[in-house]
């Protein structure tokens, strides 16, 4: 199988506290990989390390075979094909939905291009396609403040899509969504996964069960178990530290 991301012996510490401790895993092309685990397990920090927001103390993150992303800065990582969505929806609040997409869709992000180049037809069509996919075409001229929480999340996923990443990192994309919105988001992810690998951090176990190809359980910065949803669910250690111990997953099991 073809792997897109190899995390090798990755350690991230904050003032001596090891948020991520010797993590080693491999993510294959086309996967929808879920990182689960109790709060403070290091899931978000792991995403932060992949997208360059924190610099690891040791270890490597190899993307597409040989690019060590820990050497790149955030915007360079985006430009080699890794997109990131943050937990709190962060879109540009004072620009229309369309303008938000416009900034994301452009591939040449140089100063020169942003002054002299306008969008070409292909880019405009792609924006419109994505807007239809995420269901925001009608609201393309609104500013995000007129959008619901779920719609903001979709807009951000749409912006990610417009970047055409090879790997997408999503931090709790369905947090704060109702069941129907959650399902729409899940379907959206499946659609995206056709040409893109996805890593999701999520607490909603139902959502995990429905859409995960593979699950990585993190606990206190280290990998506790990895496998399919059913494999992970039957692991006694996982049940002890997370699923069965009054963790967020309990009521849904």
């Amino acid at each position: 199988m073809d792997s897109i991301l190899q995390i090798d012996n990755l350690t991230v510490s904050f003032n001596g506290f090891r948020a991520v401790n010797h993590v080693k895993t491999e993510i294959e092309k086309g996967e929808i990989r879920f990182f689960i685990g109790p709060n403070g397990a290091g899931k978000t920090t792991l995403l932060d390390a992949i997208c360059g927001r924190v610099k690891p103390q040791s270890g490597q993150v190899l993307f597409s075979g040989n690019l060590d992303v820990t050497r790149y800065s955030e915007h360079e990582i985006v430009n080699i094909g890794i997109g990131r969505k943050f937990q709190v929806p962060s879109v540009f609040a004072h620009m229309s939905v369309y303008e938000n997409m416009e900034l994301a869709v452009v591939k040449d992000r140089s100063l020169y291009s942003s002054i002299f180049h306008k969008l070409n037809n292909e880019q405009r069509e792609r924006i419109e396609d994505i807007l239809v996919t995420i269901g925001l075409y009608e609201k393309r001229l609104n500013t995000p403040k007129a959008l619901s929480h779920g719609e903001k999340q979709w807009l951000e996923i749409g912006m990610l899509l417009a970047q055409e990443p090879k790997l997408m990192l999503l931090d709790e994309p369905v947090a704060g969504m109702g069941r129907s919105e959650t399902d729409v988001t899940g379907k959206l992810l499946e659609k995206i996964a056709r040409n893109c690998t996805i890593i999701v951090v999520e607490h909603d176990m139902e959502f995990v069960k429905d859409y995960a190809t593979k699950v990585t359980v993190l606990h206190e910065g280290a990998i506790l178990d990895e496998g399919s949803v059913s494999e992970v669910q039957s692991n006694q250690k996982v049940i002890d530290v997370y699923l069965g111990r009054g963790g967020e997953g309990e009521c849904l099991m």
Binding site: C51, S73, H94, E102, L103, A104, R109, I115, T143
Partner: protein, 369 residues
């Protein structure tokens, strides 16, 4: 009201009347074109000075109103541009001899860095290039390492102090506290003649139009959206694949270049430049022009600069004490009560006048907030 809310309302207003801005600008320029018909040459000269300030305000608005970077050291760029021009004027006045203040300070020959300024064209180019170069160096070492927000503002303010102290201290080369003054002519035309003054006025006005149109072009392009995006969420911009440092350095350099140009326009009309024009007080006053006019709109910057300075020359001539109270209270008042400045106020009034409050619209905005 949070800073985010303030920005919110601003953007909506800007969208509403984007095209009207150009109309207002055209009207304003028309007024300024015909102003000399009704004003004494003394007043025209004064208006020329305000126009120089308006040019600077456009650049300052670009970096503060649009990009959210508050520079409290733009007096330095303005001053550097002005000094470049003044060096040329001083050399022309000296007619091949050593400028007066240099011989008073005991210099015997012209310092090497003064020599290029015998050439008027070169002086004008330098008036723009030197501020740009300084901004590049400062911008490179601050923005690239993510020194931002108030940290940058305070550093830029320190820059203003440093340069004014430096220029006062190097009396033999800069004229010290007195600055550079007593010019005679510009490119052979006597500076005291009314025709020269009028010509300079119209040149300033033309440069104001050019600067405005250029910046207007920029903010309408994608870069304009990127600048606003940097103001509203710099890290989000970074995770969209843009390097904010590049854009910030660019906009800082551009606004420094515009400030330098403004300085070069200022000097021949006012007849003096001294370190007092580049210290912290003038630098922060420049910010208040933009704030009063309406930050984030180019027209606001122009209106603010001209209006505040017209008021200043009106009030401070007769009551200098009153001016301090006025400008001080204006700072507080504008920031607290009309953060969008005059332009925001006018737009808000126009909107209320045009559409009576729409019930459903209110509901939807309430929900979103």
């Amino acid at each position: 009201m949070t800073e985010a809310n303030v920005r919110n309302s601003r953007f909506d207003l800007r969208r509403l009347t984007k095209s009207k801005e150009l109309l207002v600008f055209a009207f304003l320029i028309l007024l300024l074109v015909f102003a000399p018909l009704f004003l004494s040459i003394f007043r025209v000269n004064l208006l020329g000075k305000f126009i120089a300030y308006a040019i600077l305000a456009i650049g300052l608005d670009l970096i503060w109103g649009f990009t959210g970077i508050l520079s409290l050291g733009h007096g330095v760029f303005f001053g550097l541009g002005a000094y470049c021009m003044a060096m040329y004027l001083k050399l022309e006045a000296a007619q091949g001899k050593l400028p007066d203040f240099m011989s008073w300070s005991g210099l015997e020959s012209l310092p090497w860095f003064w020599k290029p300024f015998t050439n008027s064209a070169l002086a004008i180019v330098m008036a723009i290039l030197i501020p740009t170069g300084l901004a590049f160096v400062i911008g490179f070492f601050t923005f690239k390492n993510r020194i931002r927000g108030v940290y940058f503002s305070i550093l830029s303010q320190a820059l203003a102090i440093i340069f004014s102290v430096l220029f006062v201290g190097q009396q033999a080369y800069t004229g010290g506290t007195n600055g550079l003054t007593n010019y005679r002519s510009i490119m052979g035309f006597s500076l005291s003649s009314d025709t020269t003054k009028l010509t300079l006025y119209y040149i300033s006005l033309a440069l104001l139009v050019v600067t405005y149109l250029f910046c207007n072009f920029l903010v309408k392009r994608r870069i304009g959206r990127i600048l606003v995006a940097i103001r509203d969420g710099e890290n989000r911009v970074r995770f969209s694949g843009y390097n904010p440092a590049t854009y910030k350095i660019f906009v800082y350099c551009l606004s420094a270049a515009i400030a330098g140009l403004a300085g070069a326009v200022f000097v021949p009309q006012v007849g003096i430049i001294s370190p007092a024009e580049m210290g912290i007080v003038p630098s922060i006053e420049m910010v208040i022009w933009v704030a009063i006019g309406g930050r984030g709109t180019l027209i606001g910057a122009v209106i603010g600069a001209i209006l505040v300075n017209a008021l200043k020359s009106g009030i401070s001539d007769s009551f200098p004490d009153v001016w301090s109270y006025f400008i001080g209270l204006a700072f507080v008042f504008v920031v607290l009560l009309m953060p969008q400045g005059i332009v925001g106020l006018v737009k808000e009034m126009a909107r209320r006048f045009k559409q009576p409050p729409n019930h459903t619209e209110h509901l939807s905005t309430d929900k979103a907030a």
